[in-house]
């Protein structure tokens, strides 16, 4: 088939025979994401190694009006890399070099295929005083993919990961290569300002405005000591207070709230996981004492926030929680033993979290989901909260899939009703979001998208009002 296909031949000329494919088995793998919620199809898989190859593929796609779906780890649970309009899937994993690290001004320039695992290992080996904000994603997820969809991580007190971008190199629909941020005029990729901020044109756009080929992201200090302090939250209504009290100190690394519902129980167990770091044992002791005592007199509706020493929990749980990158995700996503998981992410304002918690619980009870219900992460200093809701399902069981879809639908409504903003929005939910959006903003998105990709070749279907 390949020999007679002129596009295939041209792709082969660009990236080499070993890095282009139209074989069915590879198309099967690349046509779906792990959640299994949506399946697409496409004609060609390419794996470029250089910016020049990306440019040539984009030019070829432009000339022949062929869609291109850029893909990092392909691990998004929101269908973001499912090729719904065919064309080319561009797997960026071969572009996996760590290009520059600036130890003093703390930034790293990477190619888009660099995985979270690789970057952590590279820094640990060569720059032990530096770290990234580690996402709650498998080590094989790419840093670039996570950052460009506003991922969150262990340093989200400094914002979403998209806030940590210093600059980008991007291939535009014309095949031109463009540098954004200080890297456009300086050898140092240290800042997005004071130039007009163009990096935003590629953040949360799901690859529909161009293909990112380099990314400069901020690094942060890595401290010698890192520990976990656990509190049990008896009353979900006390979550805003808990976040406010802790963030007022500014001394935490990360705050995660984790809720799970044991089988045959009406009430979830809700734990607040507080990560703290220090550079000396003395500093760590001071911080731990501060936080252990912080809720000693606290009551909300007569219920408390209780400090729970780590030795009350299984060692594996503590180990998994502390791991960077995260361990144990497979247990969560495979809770129904069918390998599928539906996911809804939303950003809420702090005061809306108790309501979202309650409504989410009602949905899970209605559809009889047990096990992990939510992860809720503080962003900034209580400025917003990211809530992740997971509904595991069995891919081989139609009924299970149907239940998951209904639950997702209701959870999505709960997000809108709770004045939340959907996070990592899948294609079908993008359409709904655009309909609910302020019309002026929706029109602006459409205008910018059209200007950036007039032929609609980049990851088509995303942020398109007419795609369901």
């Amino acid at each position: 088939m390949g020999d007679n296909d002129p596009v295939y031949q041209m792709l082969k000329d660009i990236v080499g025979e070993d890095f282009v494919s139209n074989r069915q088995e590879e198309r099967y793998i690349y046509s779906r994401v792990p959640s299994g919620t949506r399946i697409g199809d496409f004609r060609y898989l390419v794996l470029p190694k250089t910016v020049g190859e990306v440019r040539e593929v984009v030019k070829l796609a432009g000339t022949n009006h062929i869609p291109i779906v850029p893909m990092g780890g392909g691990l998004s649970l929101s269908d973001l890399t499912v090729p719904i309009k065919g064309g080319i899937v561009m797997d960026m994993k071969r572009m996996d070099r760590v290009l520059e690290v600036h130890e003093q001004s703390r930034w790293v320039l990477i190619e888009p295929g660099v995985t979270i695992g690789k970057l952590i290992a590279y820094l640990n080996k060569n720059y032990p005083r530096l770290r990234i904000s580690v996402p709650d994603a498998p080590p094989s997820a790419t840093m670039c993919g996570n950052v460009l969809i506003s991922g969150s991580g262990h340093l989200s007190k400094y914002g979403f990961h998209s806030d940590m971008i210093n600059g980008l190199e991007v291939v535009l629909y014309t095949g031109e290569v463009c540098k954004l941020g200080s890297g456009s005029i300086s050898p140092y990729w240290f800042s997005r300002g004071p130039l007009p901020d163009l990096s935003g044109l590629f953040i949360n756009w799901c690859g529909c405005t161009g293909i990112v080929t380099k990314l400069s992201i901020k690094l942060y200090p890595k401290h010698q000591f890192r520990e976990l302090v656990i509190f049990k939250i008896e009353e979900p209504g006390s979550i805003p207070d808990a976040i406010q009290i802790i963030t007022a100190t500014g001394l935490m690394e990360d705050i995660l709230i984790f809720a799970m519902k044991p089988e045959r129980s009406h009430n979830p167990t809700t734990l607040l996981l507080l990560f703290i770091t220090a550079d000396s044992e003395k500093e760590m002791k001071l911080k731990k004492n501060l936080f252990e005592n912080i809720f000693s007199d606290y009551r909300c509706n007569g219920r408390r926030i209780l400090y729970k020493p780590n030795d009350l929990f299984p060692g594996k749980l503590i180990h998994d929680m502390m791991a960077e990158p995260k361990n144990g995700l497979e247990d969560t996503v495979d809770a129904k033993k069918g390998g599928g998981v539906g996911s809804i992410g939303a950003i809420f304002s702090l005061e809306k979290v108790p309501l979202a918690f309650k409504k989410g619980l009602e949905i899970s009870e209605k559809y009889q989901f047990t096990g992990p219900l939510y992860t809720i992460r503080n962003i900034g200093l209580g400025h917003s909260m990211v809530m992740g809701i997971l509904y595991p399902f069995n891919r081989a069981d139609e009924k299970s899939i149907d239940i998951m879809k209904k639950a997702l639908e209701e959870a999505m409504e709960m997000v809108y009703e709770g004045s939340g903003v959907p996070w990592k929005v899948s294609i079908d939910k993008q359409e709904k979001t655009m309909k609910k959006m302020d019309p002026g903003t929706c029109d602006l998105i459409t205008r910018i998208k059209h200007a950036m990709d007039p032929q609609g070749i980049f990851n088509p279907g995303n942020w398109d009002k007419s795609t369901g």
Binding site: F190, H383, G440
Partner: protein
Amino acid sequence: MRWTPRGSLTPATGINPPVNTSGNDVVMNKEDHIKAALESIVGRDSLWIRDEYSTRYYEIAPVSTEAIQAVVKFANRKNITVFHGKGSHFSQPQSISNHHAIVLRLSKMKKITAVNETSRYAIVEPGVTHQELTGCLDAHYPLLQHCLSPDSPGDTILDTALGCGTNSLSTLYGNTDDMVQGLEVVLPDGSIGKIGSCCISRLWFANHALPDLKGLFLNWHGTTGIITKLSLRLFCRFDFNDLIIYTFKDHQMIPGVIEKVTHLEMADMVTIIGKELPTYLEGMIIIALHLSGTTQEVLDLKKEVFKNLFKNHKKVMVKDCLSKDMRNAIFTGADSLDKKDKASIDSFDCLMPLEIIPAAWRQGIKIIHTHPCKYLFDFFVEDHGHRIFGKFTYVSPGCAAGLSSPVQSIRKELRAMILDLGGIPRDLSEGNQKDLVQKMDPVTAGLANKIRHVLDANRIMNPDKWRIFHNR
């Protein structure tokens, strides 16, 4: 620098032009038609007519988003240039289309429309100054503070936020633009865009998840729209504050010291100071750390950590108790010298990476000393040291204000030096934008021009800003 009227002034009051309801411009002359239209939108008391550079322009002070929207729609229809924002003036009269212009003064839009105490943000209109927001929070929300602009409490929050401004919490939480969570914008075609969570929610708590549009309005100098509301992050107020000073002599040590200080992630604001005036500070490099805590316990913890940081270092002196005189000497800016010594003063601002500071420090002093001037350097550490805001001030003590020739030369030399080292000048006025854009990746300049065209095809919005993208 704020715009000041220089041309002749024609009061709008007392004139009652016929109202053109036919839409036929021939009935009235153009001036009358523009005046009548603007008057009907903002009222007589908020309209002034001025003549300058053979141009008639209409200065208006609208009080609502709807009024701005109506003005912009009218201007777009008639292809009339609209100037707004900090420093909007007629430096480039040739950029005004049809010899008419509208100057928007947003100083009447001064409402703080909401403060969310739980999620810690405030929504402000464009005329609200840092001082006014501080006053509001002091009076009604004593547990909250905002990121104060250190030099100019009278500046509007909007001006600081849109121009990458440094602030009192910059070292830990970034510049003021990093703290913007949402915008309401009147676009150049008169439509309204809501940016951030407010486009889909009644709450303005985040600027994420949806396609990022905030960047379309940051550092664009008002060329892409007029901001009419802005949501700014607030922070918990820290009632316990203190200061620690490190001093040393060798400027080569600056990056290493800053790296160590920012590694601890505990100082709200870190400033690097070097000055020849007063003379006893000459040659000394001062690192000032502003620390705070919600309790004395937290503050003590931070102080102890910083005091121990260079405990056994032979070249770094640590001081945590400063006399009032010493504090004044260190933190008094060039303005006071100006009054006292009749000095000629100017400064050059830039952003730079930490690693070029030693070269910039050394070369900056060398440039200033080739003229009869003294240096005062204030460098602000932003965002954990990811970038440094450098303020190179140069003073000619006793020099009459008219003798300003060295000033232009020093500024030019400093500018060339910073660009050469890899920093970026902050003064992005027309002339200065030129060499910056010349240095810029041409595709990037083309993309910026394209985006501007998408938003403002008629180029009516602040056309003297970032014009260079178009001309490149």
